[in-house]
Symmetry: C2
Subunit: 107 residues, 2 copies
């Protein structure tokens, strides 16, 4: 989880993810809109592959990259889980403040 | 956005967020379950405050920390947005493969 959030903590890597959710792409296709050298893109891809967000395979001289949506979902689930806890707390506070008799007793 | 994901890329800081979504807490309340010195917790809090995920105020000698849910939501929206694009692409691929006549033409 550390590595997934770390990977997303960079604008260029998020741009690569934004490109790959639209479909697989070669390293040079990824490099073009980023205005970045191939070695620089490769370094970002290494970070994205190390945390499992991206996988790639080489066919001949072309390396094609794919998104790994399950890993993105893990990060999403953590954040959504925290928001849910926070919203449930707000609901309880609200119930407490309006003193609804049907709310029952919470410890 | 870089700083929000960077802040979440650490297990101790995620534990602090997990605690604060359940309600405000003092720095020493945050430190206790982490088994960490107060200065170490303060350093993590500085990272969390710098990206806006947490805010704190000092009353007398006690600093109380609160979560800032809007910032958590920004990170969530980015991830959910990417998942949505990916799922829409899968839907289009599926429609293409099953060749539904009611799907219309997509460029």
């Amino acid at each position: 989880m550390d590595r997934v959030f770390q990977a997303l903590a960079d604008g260029s890597r998020r741009e690569i993810v934004e490109r790959l959710v639209r479909g697989p792409a070669s390293v040079s296709e990824l490099a073009r809109p980023l205005d970045m050298s191939l070695p620089a893109v490769m370094q970002h891809l290494q970070v994205l592959e190390a945390c499992g967000l991206v996988r790639s395979e080489k066919t001949g001289r072309v390396r094609t990259c794919h998104i790994e949506p399950g890993v993105l979902r893990t990060a999403e689930e953590w954040i959504v889980g925290r928001r849910t806890v926070w919203e449930q707390r707000l609901d309880r506070l609200d119930a407490h403040l309006t003193d609804r008799p049907d709310h029952g007793s919470t410890p």
